[in-house]
C-alpha cells in the first residue's frame, strides 16, 4: 500500500500542498485552516517540516473514537472519518500523537487526510519533491541507495592520492 512520504530536507515551505489540500477538501477556499497537511517553518533552526496523517497501522484515533466513526478505507488503506457518525467529541484529536487531526469549526466534526481517494493533491502540488506517494519499501530502498552513495563518495575521497583534485 502506498503512503505519503516526507523528506524535510527538500521542503522549502512554499505551502502549495496546504493550498491544494484546503481547496480539495473545502471546494471554496485555500485558507490554511482548511488544510489537513501543515508545514511548519522554524527559522532559527533553519528547518521546514511538513506533516500530515501517517495512516498508522494501529491508529490510536480509531481505537479511541467512541462513535466508531473512524475506519480504514479498504481501497487506499487510508484512515478516514465518517463525518455523519462523528459526534465532535475531539477524542481523536487528543489521541493523535502527531496532531494530524483537525476540527471543522463550521460542521463541528473532526476532519483529517483521506489520501484524496488514492490521488493525494498535496503530493501533486509538491513542487520541490519533498512529498511522494509511494510504497513504503520503495522509499526505504531509495533511502538505502542515498546512504550508499554518500558512503561511497566518502570512501572515494579517502582513497584519492593527495594533491589531485577533480579538476585535474
Amino acid at each position: 500500500m502506498k503512503v505519503i512520504t516526507i523528506d524535510p530536507t527538500k521542503c522549502v515551505g512554499c505551502r502549495n500542498c496546504e493550498l491544494a489540500c484546503a481547496f480539495i477538501n473545502s471546494k471554496t477556499t485555500c485558507e490554511r485552516k482548511a488544510s489537513m497537511i501543515r508545514v511548519n517553518h522554524y527559522i532559527d533552526e533553519h528547518a521546514v517540516i511538513p506533516m500530515t496523517c501517517l495512516h498508522c497501522d494501529d491508529p490510536w484515533c480509531m481505537a479511541v473514537c467512541p462513535a466508531g466513526a473512524i475506519v480504514r478505507d479498504p481501497d487506499t488503506n487510508a484512515v478516514v472519518i465518517d463525518q455523519d457518525k462523528c459526534a465532535g467529541c475531539k477524542m481523536c484529536m487528543l489521541a493523535c500523537p502527531y496532531g494530524n487531526i483537525h476540527f471543522d469549526e463550521e460542521r463541528h466534526v473532526s476532519t483529517k487526510c483521506t489520501l484524496c481517494g488514492g490521488r493525494p493533491r498535496c503530493v501533486g502540488h509538491c513542487i520541490s519533491g519533498a512529498l511522494n506517494f509511494e510504497e513504503v519499501e520503495e522509499y526505504a530502498a531509495k533511502t538505502r541507495s542515498k546512504v550508499d552513495e554518500q558512503m561511497s563518495r566518502r570512501m572515494r575521497m579517502k582513497c584519492r592520492p593527495t594533491g589531485v583534485s577533480d579538476n585535474d
Binding site: 501533486g124 509538491c126 513542487i127 519533491g129 579538476n167
Partner: protein, 687 residues
C-alpha cells in the same frame, strides 16, 4: 458525459509546466501535473490547478464591449468592433502619423507566438512601437547574458556541484526548477542563496547570504578578486574563449575583503566559504540571477558580474554548469530587417539604445510621458493584449492618466482588469486551452506543443492580429489561416511536423545538446565560439562602451545605487517591490475566489526593529509614501532573519494596496531602462 484527459502546457505563469487537463462537455473540470513532462514531472503549483476555476468564472469575458458616450460598456458584434478599431487606427495614423499607434504584449493570455506576431503587426502597419511586460522583467537579464555569453544559458541544476542563486526564488517564481535543484542537492550539490530576504529557497540553503540591497555586484567582484588571488581560474577556458580578462584582473584588485564587507554587509569568512565551494565544485557551478537584481539601477552590470564568475570557474557549457542552447531554426517572422522603421522613432530607442538594439523593445515608462506630453510626437492609439499596467507598471497614477487620455485604447483579455476598464473596446480572449502554439527549450533541445481543446467561439490572438492587419491593408503579411498553419510554417525548416510534436506534449526532443561546443568549434577552426561581437565570452564589452551611456563602461564596474549610497532622511526606508506570492502572477488571479480568500491583501513586510521604531504591530494599517504619492496597506512583521533591517517588501498586483502608486518611473538602470523597483525610498507612518 464523456471525460477526456489531455496533456498540454500550463500558461498561468511563464514557467511552462506540463499539465493534464480533465475536460468534460467542452469544460475543464480539473487540472493536475503531467507526469510525462520532462521538467515538472507531474507536479504543479496552486496557480496551475486553480485554472480549472479561473477559466470557468462566470465573469469571464465572452462578448466584445464598447464604451458608449455615457462612459459605460455595451456589447458589440465582434466584426463590427474589429471594423471600427481598424478604421480608428487608420484615422489616427492619417491624422497624427503612422507611428502614433502601437501594440503592447502582456502575459495574461500568453500565446508564445504572440510576441513576434505583435512585432510583425506593428511594422506591417508602419509603426515601430512595440511594447511588452518584458521591459520590467526579463529583458534586463537577457541583455546581461547576451552581452557576456551571446545567449540565454540554462543553469544545469540537476547535475551541479554548486548552485548559486542571486535574488531568485525558484519555489515561488519558477516552480519546476525546484525539482532540478533538489535533484542536484540529493547528488551532493551545495546551495548558496544571496538575497536581502530569507526567501523560500533560502530555507534549504547551505549558505545563506543576507546582502544589503543593490550591492550584489560588489560581492561578485569580491568573489572574483579571491578567485584570481587563489588562482581558482580555468585558464584554458579564459585564454581561448574569453575577452577582457586582463581588465578583470586589474579592476578586481581593489575588492578586498574589508571593502566588500563594508559595501555589502557580508563578512569575509562567509565570502571565503563561498569561494571555497566554487573551488571544490568547478566546473560544475550552476548560477542564476533573478528579478531581485534586475530592479536596481546597476542591475545589468551586477548580472554580468555574476556571469563572469561562472565563466572564470570554467562552468560555461559544462554538465552541471551553464549550458549553452542550440537554436531550432524557426524562421523569423519579425520585420526588423525588411522594415526597420528606425526613422519613425521607436519610443525609448534614443534614451535606452541598448534595450532597443538588443531586444527591440520600446520603453513602456517613456510611453506614458509621450502620451501625456505629445513629445517628440503624438501617440494616440494602443492595442493591448492582456497586459494590466495599471497594476504592474511603475507609477500607476501616471499610467492611468496616460491610458485614459488616449484616443483609442483596445484591451484584449479574459477578464475585465483594472486596465481594461479604461479601454474604448474590450475584446474577449481565448485561453491557452483554446489555441495551438509551440514552445522550445534550446538547452534541452525540447519542443512543446499545445492544441485547441476547448472551443467557446472566442477569437484567438492570431485571428485578432491577422483580422486587424487585413482591415488595415496589411493582410498580406499574415498569409497563415490560423495558429495551426503558423505552427506548421514555423516547423517546416526543422523537418518536423505539428503532428509529430503532438505525440509528446510533455517534451518532444529534437536531438542532443553536447557540452563544450566551444572546444568543438576551436578544433574545427571556427573562431566564433559564442554569439558576441568578438565571438568570445565578453568580460569587457566594446559594444557597450561604444554606446557612451553616462557612467557605463565596457567592464561591469560596481557602482552603488545612490539610494543606498546616500540615504534620504526624509524617506529613510528602502522599499523592495515585485516579489511574488505563490498564489498570484503579477496582477492576476485575485479573482479566483479560493486564492483571494487565502490572501486578500497586500502586506508591508518589515524587520521587527523597524516595526518597533514605527510603533506598529502585525495587521496595523500604515501609509507608505514616496516622492510621487502614497498608499495604505497592512503591516506584516517578519522574523529578524527574514529581511534586511531598514528595507521592506511589498508585493505588487493588489488593487486595493497598489504599491505601484509609489514606485518611480523615472529612476532607471541606464542600460536596460528597468525601473528601480527594488530600492524605492519611502517613509512609513501608522494611521
Amino acid at each position: 458525459m464523456t471525460e477526456k484527459c489531455i496533456d498540454t502546457t500550463c500558461r498561468m505563469c511563464g514557467t511552462l509546466c506540463g499539465i493534464t487537463a480533465h475536460i468534460e462537455n467542452n469544460k475543464v473540470t480539473e487540472i493536475e501535473g503531467n507526469p510525462r513532462h520532462i521538467f515538472n514531472k507531474g507536479r504543479i503549483c496552486i496557480k496551475g490547478s486553480s485554472a480549472a476555476t479561473w477559466l470557468n468564472l462566470p465573469d469571464r469575458l465572452r462578448k466584445p464591449l464598447k464604451r458608449n458616450a455615457s462612459g459605460n460598456f455595451e456589447e458589440i458584434d465582434l466584426n463590427q468592433a474589429m471594423d471600427e478599431i481598424a478604421e480608428k487606427l487608420l484615422n489616427l495614423q492619417q491624422e497624427y502619423g503612422a507611428n502614433s499607434i502601437g501594440i503592447w504584449k502582456g502575459e495574461g493570455i500568453d500565446f508564445e507566438q504572440q510576441e513576434n506576431i505583435a512585432r510583425r503587426f506593428a511594422h506591417a502597419v508602419g509603426t515601430p512601437n512595440y511594447f511588452s511586460n518584458d521591459t520590467q522583467c526579463y529583458a534586463s537579464r537577457h541583455i546581461a547574458f547576451y552581452l557576456v555569453y551571446g545567449c540565454w544559458p540554462l543553469a544545469d541544476y540537476a547535475n551541479a556541484s554548486l548552485i548559486l542563486n542571486w535574488g531568485t526564488n525558484a519555489p515561488i517564481s519558477h516552480s519546476h526548477w525546484m525539482q532540478a535543484i533538489n535533484e542536484g542537492r540529493e547528488k551532493g550539490a551545495k546551495l548558496v542563496v544571496v538575497d536581502t530576504r530569507y526567501t523560500e529557497i533560502a530555507r534549504q540553503a547551505d549558505i545563506y547570504i543576507q546582502i544589503r540591497p543593490g550591492t550584489d555586484g560588489a560581492l561578485g567582484w569580491g568573489i572574483i578578486h579571491d578567485m584570481i588571488e587563489r588562482d581558482i581560474i580555468d585558464h584554458k577556458f579564459v585564454d581561448n574563449f574569453t575577452f577582457g580578462y586582463d581588465k578583470v584582473v586589474e579592476y578586481a584588485k581593489s575588492f578586498t575583503h574589508e571593502k566588500v564587507a563594508e559595501i555589502t554587509g557580508v563578512q569575509p569568512e562567509i565570502m571565503i566559504q563561498v569561494v571555497n565551494e566554487i573551488a571544490a565544485a568547478r566546473p560544475r557551478l550552476a548560477s542564476w540571477p533573478g528579478c531581485g537584481l534586475e530592479h536596481q539601477i546597476n542591475g545589468v552590470n551586477n548580472i554580468r558580474t555574476m556571469t563572469i564568475i561562472d565563466a572564470l570557474a570554467g562552468a560555461t557549457d559544462q554538465e552541471g554548469g551553464m549550458r549553452i542552447p542550440i537554436g531550432f531554426g524557426f524562421p523569423d517572422i519579425t520585420l526588423y530587417e525588411d522594415k526597420p522603421l528606425m526613422e519613425s522613432g521607436p519610443i525609448g530607442a534614443d534614451a535606452f539604445p541598448v534595450l532597443y538594439d538588443m531586444r527591440h523593445e520600446c520603453h513602456t515608462g517613456l510611453l506614458m510621458d509621450q502620451i501625456l506630453s505629445g513629445k517628440p510626437y503624438p501617440f494616440k492609439g494602443l492595442i493591448m493584449t492582456a497586459a494590466n499596467p495599471v497594476l504592474t507598471n511603475a507609477n500607476s497614477q501616471k499610467v492611468k492618466k496616460a491610458l485614459s487620455s488616449l484616443e483609442l485604447l483596445v484591451v484584449k483579455d479574459l477578464f475585465m482588469t483594472e486596465t481594461a476598464r479604461l479601454a474604448n473596446y474590450v475584446i474577449p480572449a481565448a485561453s491557452y486551452l483554446e489555441r495551438e502554439e509551440i514552445f522550445t527549450n534550446g538547452a534541452r533541445r525540447a519542443a512543446f506543443i499545445t492544441g485547441k481543446y476547448l472551443d467557446y467561439g472566442l477569437q484567438t490572438e492570431y485571428q485578432f492580429i491577422k483580422g486587424l492587419a487585413e482591415r488595415m491593408g496589411a493582410g498580406s503579411y499574415f498569409p497563415w489561416e490560423d495558429d495551426h498553419e503558423l505552427t506548421e510554417w514555423l516547423l517546416k525548416p526543422t523537418g518536423h511536423t505539428a503532428a509529430e510534436l503532438h505525440t509528446a506534449p510533455g517534451g518532444y526532443i529534437f536531438g542532443d545538446n553536447p557540452c563544450n561546443k566551444h572546444w568543438q568549434k576551436l578544433a574545427s577552426g571556427d573562431n566564433r565560439f559564442f554569439d558576441t561581437p568578438t565571438g568570445k565570452v565578453e568580460f569587457f564589452s566594446e559594444y557597450l562602451e561604444s554606446k557612451h551611456i553616462p557612467g557605463i563602461e565596457g567592464l561591469p564596474k560596481y557602482h552603488a545605487p545612490y539610494q543606498i549610497a546616500e540615504p534620504d532622511p526624509e524617506y529613510p526606508y528602502l522599499l523592495s517591490t515585485g516579489a511574488r506570492k505563490q498564489k498570484f502572477f503579477h496582477g492576476r488571479y485575485r479573482n479566483i475566489p479560493q486564492l483571494y480568500k487565502a490572501e486578500p491583501h497586500g502586506h508591508l513586510e518589515m524587520h521587527p526593529d523597524d516595526a518597533k521604531k514605527l510603533g506598529v504591530a502585525n495587521g496595523d494599517t500604515v501609509r507608505v509614501t514616496s516622492r510621487i504619492g502614497s498608499f495604505e496597506t497592512f503591516v506584516q512583521i517578519m522574523h529578524p532573519k527574514e529581511i534586511f533591517k531598514g528595507s521592506m517588501q511589498h508585493t505588487h498586483g493588489f488593487a486595493d494596496q497598489n504599491v505601484n502608486n509609489i514606485t518611480y518611473d523615472d529612476i532607471h538602470d541606464p542600460i536596460s531602462g528597468f525601473p528601480a523597483l527594488k530600492s524605492v525610498q519611502v517613509r512609513v507612518e501608522k494611521i
